[in-house]
Symmetry: none
Subunit: 192 residues, 4 copies
Amino acid sequence: MGKKGDDTKRFIKEKARALFAKKGFKNVTMKDICMETGLSRGGLYRHYDSTHEIFSEIIDSLMNVQDDELSEKIKRGDSAAQMLHEILERYKQEMMDSAGSLSVAIYEFYSENQLSGEENALLKQYLYSVDMWKNFISYGIQQGEFRNVDYEEIIDIIVFSYQGVRMFSTILPVDEQIPQRIVNHIKKMLLI
Amino acid sequence: MGKKGDDTKRFIKEKARALFAKKGFKNVTMKDICMETGLSRGGLYRHYDSTHEIFSEIIDSLMNVQDDELSEKIKRGDSAAQMLHEILERYKQEMMDSAGSLSVAIYEFYSENQLSGEENALLKQYLYSVDMWKNFISYGIQQGEFRNVDYEEIIDIIVFSYQGVRMFSTILPVDEQIPQRIVNHIKKMLLI
Amino acid sequence: MGKKGDDTKRFIKEKARALFAKKGFKNVTMKDICMETGLSRGGLYRHYDSTHEIFSEIIDSLMNVQDDELSEKIKRGDSAAQMLHEILERYKQEMMDSAGSLSVAIYEFYSENQLSGEENALLKQYLYSVDMWKNFISYGIQQGEFRNVDYEEIIDIIVFSYQGVRMFSTILPVDEQIPQRIVNHIKKMLLI
Amino acid sequence: MGKKGDDTKRFIKEKARALFAKKGFKNVTMKDICMETGLSRGGLYRHYDSTHEIFSEIIDSLMNVQDDELSEKIKRGDSAAQMLHEILERYKQEMMDSAGSLSVAIYEFYSENQLSGEENALLKQYLYSVDMWKNFISYGIQQGEFRNVDYEEIIDIIVFSYQGVRMFSTILPVDEQIPQRIVNHIKKMLLI
DNA sequence: CATGAATGAGAGTTCATTCAT
DNA sequence: GATGAATGAACTCTCATTCAT
């Protein structure tokens, strides 16, 4: 049973996240968040000292949503092809979800706060993705379901074209055929 | 024969471009540009009324650097494989050129100025790229140098993975193997 | 037998006094006192409504430390020279005790709360000092130990040079020869 | 012929000085100075970034009003007694000039900005005063007009009792007999 | 055309103070 | 009594923007 203050923090993050997704990082002010949450100036400052701090916490929680489900399925010996299908379906959704995407905000944020690699959630995220895909592709190959591809190449294609579309979608509506084509390409590369 | 005013405008854009590449769009103020150019407040305002206006002009000139060279080479019947190599070498350079990249700034800019498709340079740029690649790939196929690929799919892969890396590079130093692998992938897809 | 509330009040005053001595009056906030005492906002407010009120009470208790000892000694017929020596030794200590000195805080306090003479502890303190010295010097003369000096003149010299050094010491470390010289001067003036 | 900006700075300092004398250091805000000078927020900030900076400049100019007149008179061989009289008359005026006194403000200022001795105008001022008096008293002795006193002792008495009264006068109206008595004492000590 | 002083709006931040629990 | 969340006023500071020179 968390304290009342924690609830407020959660509530603030929720509201702020929507603002960041809509307006990017720098365009969101503490005042905006006050208005969105209905809190007073001082009330907000009791919980967070800056948009920076709020954003950091949002990013941290995003990054900590690790995909344990995948490793479980691998343990169970599920079909790699089926798993690939599911992952890519989720990717398609995400590539088109302009409202929920913090991509621009994240880039802005890191653009003004030049951090060393260690602290950079973006890098962590990239490394985590690479690692996840490495394990997964390796599993698919073992199962005889995936071609014997050049891991690193295909992973870079997956990760960066996904990122590229997500960025694009924050600005412009993305024709749903674009995610479809990218997903098709990945399948073609991997599946025997 | 340009007027003196045009020279000043060019000078302002040059200096401003470096600032936008470094700090993104929103973090650059008219004051920053004054300092960078050495112009006074009033002096700058005589030429431009806002960072918005300056940025727009920068983007416009970027977009207007059309690759007429390519169509000429096609007319001359140059080797498609050679041309592909040259294009991709330039892409590699660009993917690693964090200092010159306006990617984050552009996304920020369009993120706060929700424009309809018509006016959006980003969309124009995308459409232009698609068009360019379509012509080029079609030429390669005709010449018997490229495989008979699914145009749209390969083009989306090219365009968005390129964009994805450029964004990434504005924030973090990109290992040069990443552009290399992406370029390799494209070649593998296209070249017979 | 004081109540628990009185203990808390005493505790607050003790902690607050150290803060006032260190930072002056205006630079101490209720928040500072909360942090120093470990009390919560509401907790502190239950006892005091403002730094003003706390400071007033501190000053009042300072002022009420009357030197009854002196009059007793006079009654007993103690040596005036010896008493002078003791008083001046204490003065020397106080002139160098930068940490315990509320001088700056007191001046700040009265500077922003322009009070009529009646309520002003500073004036009371001055008048009390003058009175005390008048009695004491008069006693010394009677005893044949002090010169027949101009009371008021020597008292002003004592009181204001003492004040001047105390102020100075709140800001800068005072060379211990300064209090020594002042004390010597006073002795020279008074003692036969 | 100074620039317009310099005039404004002078004007700001003039108005600010009156405020500091009246309300001390911490109680004067940039807003107060805006109102007093009639400048807008931004207008004031163009010249000074903080009350701190304004106050520093005021103090600096105070400190730089060195008393070159004195050394000239010494060169000319003027009467030491006469010079002493003039100096002390000025001291009397200053001790009673509550409106013009920055004493409390200065103490507050240095109280919150703990500086090393070097940068501290208060210390400079003290050292300068000591030096000036040393020269002057030495001259008076040479001329056979002053007693052969203990320099340091009498100087501390002069300097600190003067300071003590100035502080007192910022808070309470000082009976004009007090400066008179102090001045008398100094004369008695020095003059043969 | 250029300068830089000045304006005013608005963001960030800090506190004294209140109040439900 | 005590806690700490919340309020609102006031202050600091930064800019885009205007304007007299």
